[in-house]
Symmetry: C2
Subunit: 458 residues, 2 copies
């Protein structure tokens, strides 16, 4: 532990990270709820009104500054307190829910995605309210609403109904989210486009039970082989997704985007290999790595399983095989349409002799906004102020925050994506981490952002 | 439990089945050894000399009749007391190592493969020694050697050195094994050909850790996708194995074989579907199901695993993927050559951006003998005597008993394969079972077999 540990901002972060708020795991529902309670208390402690709202799933925490001043713009700050599962646990150097600080970096599940980043927002508002910062704002220059949910990692199934139900009290002029990535250390980054996503599970069943592969091998279809053939059919040899119609709605990249991205740190293939540990880059022919991971759609196998996986060998034909798939989508692909195309592809390509089930999972639309809008320019000013002498990088990001398209639909406003994570923060991976420098920069950024939004003509 | 439970032959079988003698599981080594001790005691109890011999792995049990009579032929009876793993445990109706009798059928792991069948041999010899049967043999008409090992299910890695070391004391005229299948209830069956086998594991590694599929998806190879493409490359769409050179050494089927097999019960596709629960038969184009599962070589995936397999979804690119494969071989395919061809195929077909490791597993050669040799005719007479009015079915079997080719090499003798299992005995599957009728028929068969071998001119 370092001496930064005595900083109340750091103590807050460590407390937040100790909750194993894994939304995908039903056994963790109590921990998720406890974490929601902690967030609400935190908002109250800095002087906001706050409430934990039940949903059909995990709770939503709402907070707001008071009194509401009709003469000021209102900014809604969105984040999530739920986290990805922590497994494989054996790859963590220290337990995922026992946060550890080493060389100024906090290691814990959720450190970057999204607890560290949403807490930077909260403490930025706190700093503005206290008026204790060097910038000296005695009171908030905007109305602030916090919307912090507990189901982001499972696709926010209950947030849209919640937004519709609380639409009046959530009226705002712009939304700010820090749940994206900076292109490099201390490089201010503004994300104007996100990929969407659609998930599904594929289940292939063959014989009624695992069969002796000597007695029956050769005469009945092997579900593992059938599934492998199905999964292999998703791509051609050049890395293109081979599902008919998959690219039909994809908007081509603009020349200025392809040109601008050449200057980004991750345009260096060696940096990407160092970051991922992959032996070579690989993807769709005709595109650079940055284009592939941020602006092109994908088909990914997230996991698969079949038959015997234990010690030694077991000479069986497995009874079944299954896989979890996600497809990242770009403007203007429609998740429902892609689900339908993929499902049709799978049934068309399913080999004979097995039964196929395709179970649709969660979806989110891709998002794109104008980085040069009035609020977009306010955000860029805040970034320049926080990172003096650096021009903000304008990027697309490969991850998905499906809720931003819902915000646009339900609340009619755009979202400013001001990420604080670094590419090596290992979101969703073992040893997820968040540099304290980014956390403190985020607190400053959010404080300045309120001023710049306050100064923007609505 | 039924009243047959009070039969000492049944009590013996139940005691034998209670040992969880899973040779593939290092944690079961003690149980395997205890089971070997039980077998040796059993052989002593019926009046044979018996000893448990240590090996580099699990022990071998040797027994022999005494005194040795040089004027009589010697038959070596081979079997194994080790069993396959019992998982998936949740598909067993009752625990795999708590044998249960229902409607005259014993359910337990190992009931048919091979404890029930080797115990029928032991009790057949006992009946002959006691001279208590209706056939009234006061003493053995042959010399008997029992060789009962504990590593058959892991490819008998230590048996060949054992055979070479004990070659003198194992000298015999013929070998008898009951570890194959009858083609139907009460249909005497003589197996003259067995498939061989070669096993390997395929490991594909990509990034150094599971990656966020949004942040990196599209720019690095997904090991699960790479493995699926590799596994899919093993077959063409017509079910042929697509490894170059795979079929080069395969002997074509004789016309008489294809003709004779048309009369077998499993030539009825509906019977095969009922037995396996598969929705359709599927296999190599140009061959019937019987030909496919008994006389043609195969490539089977026994299991595979990659990435997230838990509840819900996890949007990752997995760091690695792996599969267990076995290839069933027919005369004159050579396991070492097939290993080399498959390994070359995998490296040739491995997609870019991942690292491939191929780990060779155990192997056994295919086996073929002449069913019309003198001892073959003796075995057929014993089958006719045990099942009056039925002509023995002459078949190939799809399973592998690699040791029979080793017996031929080291001891210079052929093996009589007189299976007692039925096709629905679920060897290697949950709810493995063995009908007591087959057990009792096996005891009679073995007793008569000794007489017929005793009457055969060496």
């Amino acid at each position: 532990m370092t001496t930064t540990n005595t900083d109340p901002a750091v103590a807050d972060l460590l407390a937040f990270l100790k909750f194993p708020s894994v939304s995908t795991d039903p056994a963790r529902a109590g921990d998720v709820r406890d974490c929601a309670g902690w967030v609400a208390n935190k908002l109250r402690a800095i002087g906001l009104l706050a409430e934990v709202h039940d949903t059909a799933g995990h709770p939503v925490v709402l907070g707001r500054s008071t009194p509401h001043r009709a003469d000021l713009p209102t900014v809604l700050i969105y984040g999530h307190y739920d986290v990805q599962p922590a497994d494989p646990l054996d790859l963590w150097h220290t337990p995922p829910f026992e946060p550890r600080i080493e060389n100024g970096v906090v290691f814990a599940r959720g450190a970057t995605d999204n607890k560290g980043q949403i807490l930077a927002h909260i403490r930025g508002v706190e700093a503005a309210l206290l008026g204790t910062s060097a910038n000296g704002f005695p009171e908030l220059p905007v109305n602030v609403i916090f919307l912090i949910e507990g189901e982001e990692e499972i696709g926010s199934p209950n947030l849209e109904p919640f937004l519709r139900e609380h639409r009046e009290e959530l009226q705002c002029d712009v939304i700010a989210i820090s749940d994206t990535t900076m292109v490099g250390t201390a490089i201010p980054t503004f994300t104007y486009c996100l990929r969407g996503l659609t998930a599904l599970e594929v289940h292939v069943t063959g014989p009624a039970m695992d069969l002796h592969s000597g007695i029956f091998g050769g005469a009945v279809a092997n579900p593992a082989t059938a599934l492998a053939r199905l999964l292999a059919s998703l791509h051609d040899a050049d890395g293109h997704v081979a599902v008919a119609g998959f690219y039909d709605a994809v908007q081509p990249l603009a020349d200025w985007e392809r040109e601008a991205w050449k200057a980004l740190p991750l345009n260096d293939e060696h940096a990407l290999l160092a970051l991922t540990g992959a032996s070579a880059t690989f993807g769709e022919a005709g595109f650079t790595s940055i284009e592939r991971f941020s602006a092109r759609p994908t088909a990914e196998i997230n996991g698969f399983a079949s038959g015997y996986q234990g010690e030694g060998s077991k000479t069986i034909i497995p009874a079944k095989a299954s896989a979890k798939l996600t497809f990242r989508l770009v403007p203007d692909q429609d998740p429902a349409k892609i689900q339908a195309l993929v499902t049709e592809h799978l049934f068309t390509h399913c080999p004979p002799g097995v039964k196929l089930d395709v179970v649709p999972g969660h979806s989110g639309r891709p998002y794109a906004c104008d980085p040069h809008s009035a609020f977009g320019q306010a955000a860029q000013r805040a970034l320049r102020h926080t990172f003096p002498g650096k021009e903000p990088a304008l990027i697309r990001e490969g991850g998905s925050i499906p809720i931003v398209t819902t915000f646009r639909e339900v609340l009619g406003v755009e979202t400013l994506l001001l990420g604080l994570a670094l590419p090596d923060c290992r979101a969703h991976s073992p040893n997820e981490n968040f540099p304290l420098a980014n956390y403190f920069a985020g607190i400053r950024l959010n404080q300045v952002l309120l001023r710049e939004i306050g100064a923007t003509k609505r």
